[in-house]
């Protein structure tokens, strides 16, 4: 094409992509600190706890559902604090806003799902014995 494009490694201001002379000096890595490791360890520990509860059938189904939900909520909270650093600081506020914008979706999908299954369990679906005994309306309980 009759032209020679001079190439040189970018070494100045950022125009488009992040310069990365030292990966450890990258802002994201700097921000992470020990939080990432702590979030990972906490996540593994809480998931392990959930697994143990389920594997050993440690609680009745209803209590198990509540316990797992509580543990999941705790894990999510820890991730928000340790991994996403959700604060209102200038650097982090958009991450916080983004997550807050997700909250209606969680409410919508989980809420509608719960509503749908609540009806389904009563109408058509079998549940594990303990749970169905706990949830079934009194007239439907087997006579003793």
């Amino acid at each position: 094409m009759g032209i020679h494009v001079h190439l040189r490694v970018f070494a100045g201001r950022d125009y488009m992509t992040e310069s990365n002379h030292s990966t450890f000096e990258h802002p994201e890595v700097q921000l992470a600190g020990t939080g990432y490791v702590a979030a990972y360890v906490a996540g593994i520990a809480l998931m392990g706890l959930s697994l143990m509860l389920v594997k050993d059938h440690a609680l009745d189904p209803t209590a198990l559902g509540i316990a797992i939900s509580g543990i999941a909520g705790l894990a999510a909270l820890l991730q928000c604090v340790l991994l996403l650093h959700m604060t209102l600081s200038r650097t982090q506020i958009w991450q916080t806003v983004a997550l807050v914008l997700f909250v209606p979706l969680f409410i919508l999908t989980i809420g509608l799902t719960s509503w749908m299954f609540h009806g389904l369990y009563q109408r058509t679906m079998l549940r594990p014995i303990a749970a169905s005994q706990a949830m079934a309306p009194a007239p439907l309980r087997a006579p003793r």
Partner: protein
């Protein structure tokens, strides 16, 4: 810990054995021979024309958003062809296997496909058309256009963009591999539980489906993040939200959907994988499992996915109609709100896919109403398009023909969708081919918009227009094929024909099934004209060269830069003054305005790492399908290693000095830089990282 599966398994090859190669199936042998011949021809042509180096340097290792977009579109077209062949087989099987006296061939009692093979074909058809044809085609078009429409040099994360592409390619390759090694899922594209569970599908088909789906959904999620970040952060000076081109707004809405919903299907499939590999019971019918949970999770993604593919199509229509009506888009702000409205409502309608599951009447009523509510923003769009055309100077060039016809399919698909939105009506037609015909109308709307968009933006990307005469014949034949296939299908649905029948028990349906075969033959004929259109366009490209504004009445920012677009997109970052920047400049006689001062341009380097990640992703998925644990571990380790290596790489970007930019621009103006490398999209050499030369 791992679930025991009956049958042979070896540490080296897992479940893979020679018996898994379907060399006794003449259809698959023929397909394999076709693939081999095609591969030999392609390799031969590449070698003959000395294209290997270009292929490696300018395409496989590229991070240029335009080339990545083109490669997405190529993947989409290849998979569209594969999905179309599946459709041909379904239509012919159903027409042949009618009534107890219909003949059987190739081990089939009726028709020529055994039930198990037929089930795999409709599963592959749906999976391919949604995930590996429509999605890559639209993501490809968004990839090409969004940075150009907002005045950016590239995507926000060019490297991540290439990773997304190659993960999608790996998923598509996995689907294709299942043709010749093992088999594919037989439980529908959305997965019917508990058929997807191991006791009912002990083969590898479901695993192929599951891992291909996972790869593609991860790729699309990453692509969604990239497009959102690009639109939010990379807009040129003056490109305010109120001036954002309408296709970019549509892309923003679509990718909000992709970012929020694809992770749901990733989790849904991960739970299925746990069931199949570790013996958990998330979706089993007993032991604490809940098979309805799968339906719920899948469709929480599945229905928003419909809008993920339809919103970019709406965006393309919204760009094409004003250009060929020679008027600004009517109701710009209404269109924006409608796009975001559709994206928002998409989250509250998913249960209409299983109205018949016997949810409480109040639940069904809620989802009926939300589903009908989708018609409001969609109606706003239709009226806005109509008012844009009203009293416009309408020109029916090819893009406008496709876009106008798309409106017709939106009408048919939308109205039948409204019918299905009534739970009472859905009880009548659920699982019938009426529903199949309905959603094909919606998907054809997308196909029409894509063909319109490809015809419209092709000159911007390649510098010459597509040929019109064969293009029109393709359009009319394709439209005729659509009518002849789907009008009988609607009718059969009303007559009670259920979907997925490998054998049709009612001989009175034969005439309509035969008409559908005629329609599919017309489709095949139309494809021949598409090939002719592409061939003639390529042959006559010198006569069909265009300037920056290929259509003379284009409106948005991408039309101010050269055609084809140089690899740096814009010589200087454009200053945006109006919503329709191209028209604004044209009205003020600024078409040929040149920059006073050029600046250095900062660009990302090419890299082979995304290609490597895609290949390793394929290897990992293949290993998991066949339970080859050593290979899975090896690929996983290599993926982590490559990501870490990339994180520590330096020199991942370079600058083009201002004087070189100026010289290239002057060469273009003088016509000195003829269609050489610099005029191929992204064609100028750049350093290759990670194995390139």
């Amino acid at each position: 810990m791992l679930v025991h599966i009956d049958g042979p398994w070896s540490p080296l090859l897992g479940r893979l054995a020679l018996t898994e190669i379907p060399y006794k199936n003449p259809i698959l042998v023929g397909t394999f021979l076709f693939a081999v011949v095609l591969a030999v021809v392609l390799v031969g042509l590449t070698t003959y024309f000395g294209f290997w180096r270009t292929l490696w340097r300018d395409w496989l290792t590229s991070v240029d958003h335009k080339k990545i977009g083109i490669m997405y579109i190529l993947i989409g077209l290849v998979m569209l062809f594969r999905g179309f062949i599946d459709a041909v087989m379904m239509r012919t099987q159903q027409a042949m296997a009618v009534g107890p006296h219909s003949a059987g061939y190739l081990d089939a009692v009726h028709g020529y496909l055994t039930p198990y093979h037929f089930d795999q074909i409709y599963t592959a058809h749906g999976t391919i058309m949604i995930l590996f044809a429509a999605t890559p085609l639209l993501v490809g078009i968004m990839n090409i256009l969004v940075p150009l429409q907002i005045g950016a040099r590239d995507m926000a994360y060019p490297y991540l963009n290439a990773v997304s592409l190659w993960l999608t390619a790996a998923g598509a390759a996995l689907v294709m591999a299942s043709l010749f090694i093992g088999d594919f899922a037989h439980a529908g594209w959305f997965g019917i539980v508990p058929v997807m569970e191991l006791p009912y599908s002990p083969g590898v088909g479901v695993d192929y489906w599951m891992w291909a789906f996972q790869l593609s959904s991860i790729g699309t999620t990453l692509g969604g993040i990239n497009l959102l970040a690009t639109i939010v952060k990379m807009r040129a000076p003056g490109m305010t939200w109120g001036r954002l081109p309408i296709f970019t707004w549509a892309s923003l809405s679509a990718n909000l959907i992709s970012l929020t919903t694809f992770p749901v299907v990733t989790v849904a499939l991960a739970l299925l994988a746990l069931d199949r590999y570790l013996g958990t019971h998330f979706y089993t019918a007993g032991l604490g499992g809940n098979l309805m949970l799968y339906n719920d999770l899948f469709w929480i993604w599945g229905h928003p996915e419909v809008y993920f593919v339809i919103l970019p199509a709406f965006g393309m229509i919204s760009e094409i109609i004003p250009t060929f009506a020679e008027k600004p888009l009517f109701g710009y702000m209404g269109m924006v709100v409608a796009s975001l409205g559709i994206a928002g409502v998409s989250w509250g309608v998913w249960l209409h896919h299983f109205f018949t599951m016997a949810a409480a009447p109040a639940v069904n009523a809620f989802f009926s109403i939300t589903t009908m509510a989708v018609g409001i923003p969609t109606g706003v769009k239709v009226f806005n398009w109509a008012f844009t055309m009203f009293r416009g100077r309408l020109r029916f060039d090819l893009p406008m023909m496709w876009a106008s016809a798309a409106l017709f399919f939106l009408l048919v698909g939308g109205l039948t969708g409204m019918m299905n939105a009534f739970a009472t009506n859905d009880y009548m037609v659920h699982n019938s081919v009426f529903v199949v015909a309905h959603f094909h109308m919606m998907l054809l709307l997308i196909v029409y918009a894509i063909f319109g968009g490809v015809n419209y933006w092709f000159p911007k990307v390649f510098g010459f227009r597509l040929e019109q005469r064969f293009g029109r014949m393709f359009f009319w034949l394709f439209t005729a094929g659509t009518a002849v296939v789907f009008v009988p299908m609607f009718t059969l649905g009303f007559m009670g024909m259920t979907r997925r029948l490998d054998y049709v028990a009612f001989p009175q349906w034969q005439p309509l099934l035969d008409i559908e075969v005629v329609g599919i033959v017309i489709y095949v004929l139309s494809a021949a004209f598409l090939v002719a259109q592409l061939y003639v366009s390529l042959r006559d490209r010198a006569q069909n060269r265009v300037g920056a504004d290929a259509w003379g009445t284009s409106r948005s920012l991408e039309w101010i830069t050269h055609s084809p677009v140089p690899f740096y997109n814009f010589a200087v970052t454009p200053e945006v003054h109006a919503r329709d920047e191209r028209s604004w400049r044209h009205e003020r006689g600024l078409d040929d305005a040149a920059p006073v001062v050029y600046e250095d341009i900062h660009m990302p380097c090419k890299t082979a790492i995304p290609l490597g990640l895609g290949a390793l992703g394929f290897g990992l998925a293949f290993a998991l399908v066949w339970r080859i644990w050593w290979l899975a571990l090896l690929c996983s380790g290599a993926i982590v290693a490559l990501i870490v290596i990339r994180a520590f790489m330096t020199g991942t970007s370079y600058t083009i000095p201002a004087r070189d930019v100026e010289k290239m621009e002057h060469d273009r103006k003088r016509g000195a830089a003829k269609p050489a490398r610099a005029q191929v999209p992204g064609g100028s050499p750049a350093p290759v990282l990670g194995g390139g030369t």
